[in-house]
Amino acid sequence: MDRSVVVAFEGVSKRFGPLQALDDVTLAIRGPGATAILGPNGAGKSTLLDLAQGLSDPDAGHVSVLGARVNSHSYPRRRVGVVMQREFVMDRVTTAEYAELFAAIYGVAGGRERILREARLEDRARTMMSRLSGGEAARLFAAAATVHDPEVVFLDEPTASLDPENKRRLGAWMKELAKTRTVIVTTHDLREADAFCDDLVFLVGGKLRAAGSRVELAARVPAEARTGHDAEDVFFHVCRADLERVATHDGRMLSP
C-alpha cells in the first residue's frame, strides 16, 4: 500500500514556563493506517496532539498536515476529525440533538441519522446524553467526529474509561477506519497499541525516543528481552534509560 506522509513535525519545540514539553521533535506520520503515540505521563503526547490539531503553535519548528503547514489560525478543519479524551457532556441535551449539532457544524446532510446509525444509538435518540453509558458515549463521540469522512482522525486516550468489551469494539472500529484514513491515537495502553496500530511513536520527557512500524521497532529489541507484546517490548527497550532516571533521591526506583 502506498503510504504518504500525512502529519509531519520538523524540529518542533514547545515550552510551558519552566517545562520543556517538546524538544526538537522531528517526526513523519504516514497514512492510511493507525499510529499510536506512546509514552509515560508528562512525555509530551498531549502537546504533540494539540500542535497536530492546530490548537496551539510551536515555539520552534513547524507542523504540516496533509501537505500544508498548519498553525492555530490556518488549519484544514474539514479534513480532520478529533475525539478527545474527555468530551463535554451537555446538560439536558439528547443524543439526537448532539448528533444534529455536529452534523450541522460539518455541514453533512442527513448527518444526524448517520451519526446515530454509526454509533448504534438509533433507539437511544431521545435519551439525554448524561444517561448514556461510557461505551455508548464513546461511540457517539467517535461517530460525531467522523461524520464528515475526515482524512485524518485524532483520538486522545479514547479507551481510557471503557470496559474491556467496549475497548475491543472501539479498537476494532479504529482498525477498520485505519484501512482508508490516517488514525493517530495517544494511549497508555501498550497492548491496545499492539492490537490496533501499525506504527508506534515513543516520546519521553518531550523527546522522540523511537518511531516506525511496529514490526521494525520490535525487531530492534534483543531476543532475550522479547515477551511477544511488541509495543511493550519496544517501550521498555527504548525507554529503559529514561525510566531508570526516575528514581528517588535515595536511589530507590519508582518505576521498574
Binding site: L55, V80, M84, R86, F88, I105
Partner: protein, 332 residues
C-alpha cells in the same frame, strides 16, 4: 468527626491558598466598606426626601432640613418622576411665585416644606397642590429596575459563567477542532439568550401592566423590548470579556458578584440616584444598568426615549464585544 474536621480544614486551606478567593472574601468587603462609608458618612441617602425644582434656573436651589432639591428640565418630566415615587414633591417657580405639588401621602411633608420656604423673607409663600397619584406608583418606578435586574443576570451570568464552564469542561477546545467559526459560536450564544430574554421581558411587562397598571401599549412594549435587547448585549459583552480573562468557574462567580454590586446599587434599579452626593450620580449615570433603567422608565412614565441613553447602551455593547472578540481564544 475527625474526617469532618479534616475536610473542613482542607476546605479552609483551599480558600486561604487561593489569593483571588481571599481577595474577594476580605479585600472586596473592606473596599466596599471604605467607599460606602466615605460616601454616606453624613447619613444614608434615602433619609432625605427628594424635591424636584422646575423653573427659576437663575436662582439658587432652595434648601431645607430633610429635603434634597434637584432640578428637572420640564414639568412633564417632574410629574412623571413624582407619579413613580422617585420624588416626594415638585416645586415650580413661575413668575416669582412658588407652586408646591405633592401626592396625598406627602401632604404633611408638603405643608412643612411650604412653612420652611415661607420663612425665607425673600420668597413668596408657596401654593400647595395635593394631586392624586397612581396607587402602584412605586411599582411603576420599581418595574424598570426589576426588568433590568433580570436582563443583567441573564446577560452577565448567562454569558460569563456559561463560557467559563464551556472552557473548563473542554467544550470550547472541542469546538476549536471543528470548522465552526468564532462568530457563529458567539452569535449562537447571543441568539439563544436574546430569544429567552425577549420572552422574559414580554411576560414581565404584560404582568406589570395587568396586575399593577404599569402604562403599556404596543409601541411601548416594542420600545422596551428594543432597549432590553441593547441592555442584554451590553451585559453579555461584559460577561464575555470577563470570561476571556478568567478561567476558573469559582473565580468567575466571585467576579460577577463583585461586578453586580455597583451595577445594581449604583444604578436606579431600586432607588433614585438623586439623593447621592456628586459625582456619584454623574458616574453612575454612565453605567449600562442606569442607562437601561432610565430608558425603560422614560418609555413607561414619559412615553419618550432619550437618544443619549440608547447611544450609551450601544457604545457599551460595541466596546465590550469588541474587547471580548479581541481577547477570545478557543483554547489556552
Amino acid at each position: 468527626m475527625k474526617a469532618m474536621l479534616v475536610l473542613a480544614k482542607l476546605r479552609a486551606f483551599d480558600l486561604v491558598r487561593t489569593p483571588s478567593s481571599l481577595a474577594f472574601m476580605l479585600v472586596l468587603p473592606l473596599a466596599l466598606l471604605a467607599v460606602l462609608g466615605a460616601v454616606f458618612a453624613n447619613g444614608h441617602p434615602f433619609e432625605e426626601r427628594v424635591v424636584i425644582v422646575v423653573g427659576g434656573e437663575d436662582e439658587a436651589l432652595p434648601t431645607g432640613p430633610g429635603a434634597h432639591f434637584v432640578r428637572a428640565a420640564t414639568l412633564d418630566e417632574a410629574e412623571a418622576r413624582l407619579s413613580s415615587r422617585m420624588a416626594s414633591a415638585i416645586l415650580v417657580r413661575r413668575d416669582g411665585a412658588w407652586r408646591l405639588i405633592a401626592g396625598e401621602r406627602e401632604a404633611l411633608f408638603a405643608g412643612g416644606l411650604a412653612d420652611t420656604l415661607d420663612d425665607d423673607p425673600d420668597a413668596d409663600a408657596p401654593r400647595i397642590e395635593i394631586t392624586p397619584l397612581p396607587r402602584w406608583g412605586y411599582v411603576h418606578f420599581l418595574f424598570p429596575g426589576l426588568l433590568c435586574f433580570a436582563v443583567l443576570t441573564a446577560g452577565l451570568f448567562g454569558m460569563g459563567h456559561t463560557m467559563v464552564r464551556y472552557r473548563q469542561s473542554l467544550f470550547l477546545k472541542k469546538l476549536a477542532t471543528t470548522p465552526l467559526p468564532k462568530w457563529a459560536f458567539v452569535a449562537a450564544q447571543i441568539l439563544s439568550r436574546a430569544a429567552l430574554v425577549m420572552l422574559q421581558v414580554a411576560v414581565l411587562a404584560c404582568a406589570a401592566w395587568l396586575v399593577f397598571g404599569v402604562p403599556l401599549d404596543a409601541t411601548r412594549l416594542v420600545a422596551i423590548l428594543g432597549i432590553s435587547l441593547l441592555g442584554l448585549l451590553a451585559f453579555m459583552g461584559m460577561g464575555f470579556a470577563l470570561a476571556c480573562v478568567i478561567e476558573s468557574e469559582a473565580l468567575m462567580v466571585d467576579a460577577i458578584s463583585a461586578l453586580n454590586v455597583p451595577l445594581v446599587f449604583a444604578s436606579e434599579m431600586f432607588f433614585s440616584l438623586d439623593s447621592l452626593p456628586e459625582p456619584l450620580p454623574t458616574l453612575a449615570g454612565a453605567l449600562p444598568t442606569t442607562l437601561m433603567v432610565r430608558a425603560v422608565r422614560d418609555v413607561l412614565v414619559r412615553d419618550a426615549v432619550d437618544p443619549l441613553q440608547i447611544v450609551g447602551l450601544v457604545a457599551w455593547a460595541l466596546a465590550t464585544f469588541g474587547l471580548s472578540l479581541a481577547l477570545f481564544r478557543w483554547h489556552r
